[in-house]
């Protein structure tokens, strides 16, 4: 017998309890690659959330029409369509960000978070709950990107959103904006979140 889940739970579980990055370890590629600056991290978080919300809505509306055998292929085509929209939009209005993110905007298509939510939630639940689920997951994803990019930009270039915040004699830790910094920071964040969870349950 399935436990009854409240609507609030649908929304909040994505932020912490089932956080897509820290707990489920999905969508790691864009997480690591684009978090060099807060601006890039935020743009990636919003773009992925947009795609997630739109495709969850559409797929939960179509869930009874899509034949079971070809569902994965149908999901991917729907997701790819929304990614193309997001990509064109960014290229038209924010060409600078679009250039910085490069191939990682089209790579939202194969972001396991989005496909995973369609398979696990939107294809089984009604529109309202699917939108809440997508909003929560999108928010959880964006929050982790924001924290990770804030740490990396602060230590790696001494700035946040391009504004100088560290003192003048601070020498930036170059490694933080290079690939190793991404792996190390995320590893420490995963460890920290495990530690917090552990303390809460004890």
């Amino acid at each position: 017998m399935a436990k009854k889940v409240s609507l609030l739970e649908d929304f909040t579980k994505g932020i912490w309890k089932e956080n897509p990055i820290l707990i489920a370890l999905l969508g790691l590629c864009p997480t690591l690659a684009v978090t060099i600056s807060v601006e890039n991290g935020l743009a990636m978080g919003l773009a992925a959330s947009f795609v997630l919300i739109c495709s969850s809505t559409l797929i939960s509306l179509l869930r009874n029409l899509i034949p079971k055998q070809v569902r994965i292929a149908s999901f991917i085509v729907i997701i790819a369509t929304f990614v193309t929209i997001a990509d064109r939009y960014l290229a038209a209005f924010y060409p600078e960000i679009s250039k910085n993110l490069g191939p990682f905007i089209p790579l939202i298509i194969v972001n396991c978070i989005i496909l995973g939510r369609q398979e696990a939630f939107a294809s089984k639940n009604g529109v309202g709950r699917s939108i809440l689920d997508a909003l929560g997951m999108g928010l959880g994803f964006t929050l982790v990107l924001l924290i990770l990019s804030t740490i990396r930009e602060l230590l790696g270039s001494g700035t946040i959103l391009g504004y100088q915040v560290m003192w003048d004699s601070f020498s930036p830790w170059m490694v933080m904006v290079l690939p190793p910094g991404a792996f190390l920071t995320l590893g420490l964040m995963i460890g920290a979140s495990n530690w917090i969870n552990d303390r809460r349950t004890r």
Binding site: C29, L32, V110, G187
Partner: protein
Amino acid sequence: MELLVIFISAAIVNNFVLTQFLGICPFVGVSKRLDSAISMGMAVTFVMTITAVVTWLIYHLLLVPYNLEILQYVSFILVIASLVQLVEMFIRKVSKPLYDALGIFLPLITTNCAILGLALIAVLREYSFMESLIYGIGAGAGFTLALVIMAGIREELELADVPRHFQGAGITMIIAGSLALAFMGFAGLI
């Protein structure tokens, strides 16, 4: 010479996993044991090489002549998904032992972002047909290299005393960080 540079660049200097962050999911997921890491690396290299060739043909012979570049993402992902399916059927028909060895890893390759990333980057850099082919092989070799090194370290790690909260994903990320640091040493190679 040009082709050799592309190969080395894709395999080592700009390693797909450790410097471009493509294909991290299988890198974390399938690097627990050495033998499955080798199988996965072989399967990915195989699909990458074919993908590089087929997406080049589709982009330059179909999408560009008919001004359909907007369909690039949708068509590439469809091609990759069906290609993986085709490769799976082909291997099952031709070589049963190889199919059993690769088995579960084949379907997973569709959502490996390294494959789609390879196709997109090859288009961005305007590679020729031969260059795309070599780029695909090089990227696959680089992926296999990173995966095998990681699996080797993780097998040793089973005997190590890792702090409880870092077990699993946490320590894997930190090792990947150290490996990425080591691969930065290749930066001046070309």
